[in-house]
């Protein structure tokens, strides 16, 4: 079954095909583009460490970092790796694992069908032995070590450990040297069989392609599979934080900070309206046209690397503010004061209008890029939302919605600060 959704405001349309396996396939045709971008992804990321299939009596717990490990191993097959197959089509291929998803992707400007066949083939045909699994420990170990040296990475994960008691979002996506040492072929196959079931996956393509051609290839290449029901263990996560502050030392020129405002999650996912209102609020409170930004800049407390992000996924949500400062604690205090001030007075119509226009403009401009289009379709697939829900919500939310949201979030009592400062 095929449906077409359209957005007249930005003159875009997307075709969605429901495959018999239960998987949705999204295509955005861009005939005037030279390239195409495709993702074959699964709702499986670093936080999925405890789960069971429908019918299983007990939960299975797997080592930290296994989703990322599986991503690495899936590129291999009995007759060579996927990269050497892509080398024959000219496509640029890659993959990434985040907290809640694993995506395999390629971009190309010719031979789309050949590359798409490779993508659907290797993701559906795992092949690893104890020996090939062991070999990967060296490369992944080096990746983990590279992130150990990354101050922005460390400052973020230290903050997540300060905010979250139990939720696995506090664990590094690649795991640790110790946890990946426990990974073996059997565990990888078990995770594969659970999370790489087509009913848990999605395909999104944008660019110089024909939707019907993509759907035909999917019908031909997707293997028959019975849908599974996956139950993820819930993590009793209290509203309270773990600790107020954390600091480590690394060779950096200026301390890095990450401040997080933890939010309660009654439901596993935030709604599109909650997300959009939060984005608008962050723009108003922390954007480059805010009074706070100007005040921090004039006091020489921040530089141009100051930014806010709404960090949310399955069972977690927090507003994060990150940057560099000679005095992170002073920044934290000024941010808390600005939040208190905003909560007291509410945001104004002018602030709201400006922020909304800027976010609408950025959302529309994102459609310049086939990669961004695919990423927005991935989000829609992942959250079971409409492809254009977000940009339409930006148009429809009101000042009152945003002020209501402001009353719900950004509680300094549930906030923490993480700092990476320089070595003496």
């Amino acid at each position: 079954m095929k449906t077409v959704v359209e957005n007249k405001g930005i003159k875009e349309q997307c075709q969605i095909y429901r495959h018999k396996s239960g998987m949705n396939i999204y295509v955005c045709e861009k005939p005037e583009y030279s390239s195409a971008y495709a993702i074959f992804g699964t709702r499986y990321g670093s936080i999925d460490t405890k789960f069971r299939l429908g019918g299983d009596a007990a939960f299975t717990e797997v080592p930290e970092g296994i989703a990322h490990y599986l991503e690495h191993k899936l590129f291999e097959s009995e007759d060579g790796d996927a990269f050497s197959r892509y080398a024959k089509t000219g496509a640029m291929a890659n993959a990434f694992t985040s907290f809640d998803r694993t995506c395999y992707l390629f971009s190309c400007s010719s031979n789309f069908e050949d590359s798409f066949r490779i993508l659907l083939d290797f993701v559906q045909h795992p092949y690893f032995t104890e020996e090939t699994v062991r070999k990967e420990q060296g490369i992944i170990g080096q990746e983990i070590q590279m992130y150990d040296d990354s101050a922005p990475w460390r400052v973020l994960f230290n903050l997540l450990c300060a905010l979250y008691h139990n939720h696995p979002v506090r664990i590094d996506i690649a795991g640790t040297i110790e946890s990946i040492a426990q990974i073996n072929a059997d565990l990888l196959y078990q995770c594969y069989r659970t999370f790489y079931n087509l009913s848990n996956m999605f395909i999104c393509v944008a660019g110089n392609v024909k939707a019907d051609e993509v759907f035909r290839l999917c019908d031909e290449l997707l293997l028959d599979s019975e849908p599974v029901s996956i139950e993820r263990a819930t993590h009793a996560e209290p509203e309270e934080i773990v600790k107020k502050s954390v600091e480590i030392k690394l060779p950096v020129s200026m301390p890095l900070f990450a401040i997080g405002y933890k939010e309660r999650c009654e439901k596993p996912q935030k709604t599109v309206k909650e997300r959009v209102c939060t984005e608008i609020l962050m723009k108003i409170l922390f954007g480059s046209d805010s009074q706070l930004y100007k005040e921090l800049l004039d006091a020489e407390l921040i530089n141009d690397k100051f930014e806010a992000e709404y960090f949310t996924g399955h069972g977690y949500a927090a507003v994060l503010v990150e940057g560099e400062s000679k005095d992170p604690q002073a920044v934290y205090e000024k941010i808390n004061a600005a939040i208190a001030d905003a909560k007291r007075n509410g945001v104004t119509k002018e602030q709201f209008d400006r922020a909304r226009k800027a976010i609408y403009g950025a959302d529309a401009a994102a459609y310049n890029s086939v990669e961004n289009i695919v990423m927005s379709m991935v989000n829609a697939a992942f959250l079971n939302e409409g492809v254009f829900d977000e940009i339409e919500t930006v148009k429809s939310v009101t000042l009152e919605d945003v002020n209501q949201r402001l009353r719900e979030i950004l509680d300094p009592a549930h906030s923490a600060i993480s700092v990476v400062s320089g070595e003496e």
């Binding site: 390239s35 080398a87 024959k88 070590q145 954007g287 100007k294 226009k357 401009a365 890029s369």
Partner: protein
Amino acid sequence: MDQIQIESLANGVEGCHIQTAQFKTSRISINLFLPIQETDVCANALLAGLLTRASADYPDFTHLNQRLNELYGATLFGDVMKFGDMQIVKFVINVLDDCYTLGGEKISQDAAELLLSMIFTPPLQNGLFSEQDFESEKRLLIEQINGEINDKRRYAITKTESALYQGEPSGISRYGDIKDAENLTNAQAVAAWKAMLQNAFVRVNIVSSTAPDAVYQKIKEYFAPLDRNAQKIDVTKKHAGRQDVLKLEEHMNVTQAKLCMAFAVSGMDDAKDKDAVRVMTDMFGGGPYSKLFANVREKQSLCYYCAARPNFQKATILVDSGILEENRQKAIDGILQQLKEMQNGNFSEDDLAASKMALTDSARTVCDSPADLDTWYALRIFENDPGIETFIGRVNSVSKEDVQRAANAVTLDTVYFLGTNGNEGGANQ
């Protein structure tokens, strides 16, 4: 898509219209090309930030950013980059096309005029920039220079380049030296701004669906009163190469060590030779199909990343990698061994085809991004035919013999290593 039209707008000022209807936005980018001179680099880098933080109509940083948000979040920024022995000071605005605004507002022309006014008529008081803005930008520049150490991969590359090009203009960092930044005065910044408008060769790139006439007209008016002394000349001299390999080592508390190896390319000066060097470098250390990725990373597990990049202006190739400290010599040997394989012609027609396909594919992908189109044409101002399809044709005419010849023109020049020296931090913490 590969339709460009270049015309002269003033003495030493070129307009390049890259016409395409595929984007939701228009991009205007003003690129000022200047020979790298130690005395000016810092001031020019400062101007990239200073000129884009205020305008005559919006002298206050906050008001300016409010205005940009009203223009549907138009993004405006300045940047500096190195291009051989030249510095490019770049000013850019990206703005949503009028047909996509919610209330039918016309914003494109306003955005274009805002950018131009910032470059040509910044708000001066008694002939100087606002002291507060100047001091603020100076601090940001100093923090930028000091902050290079934060990203160890980037830091290692910068250190390698400054050693590799010691005594050459390219050896100077794109932001300049920290001492120069600290000593910079407001009057020097004003002088650098005037000199820049006077002497730089200027390339204006416009990526848009609509005709650039109104923007061009404004630019002509701004340049008309200036007594310009700018020529379109590539002042870059290629790197000569060393007799003895230069070796440097630095110690820091890092978990993953960094190894950079710079190579000089001798001869290989005409266009066809450079095409051969491009394909050879890609086969050596470009994508996952390359010798370095397939062997040094995948087969030997010696590094997490290991990539080779050419610098055509300077006739050099830089290999950078992240490794375990104890694998240092093995990684050096492994990288040199792969170069030897290239020099001996130990690669197949399939390997060559893979590189050609990847280079072709990524060149065509440039057409799908306003920023990539802008960069592509800005960095090809000295080429007679900078078209993407021309590039693809040239790359695909390179033969196996050409590649082998290019590999044999390559010699090791500089080796830089960043590690803990085994006694600080340790490889496994």
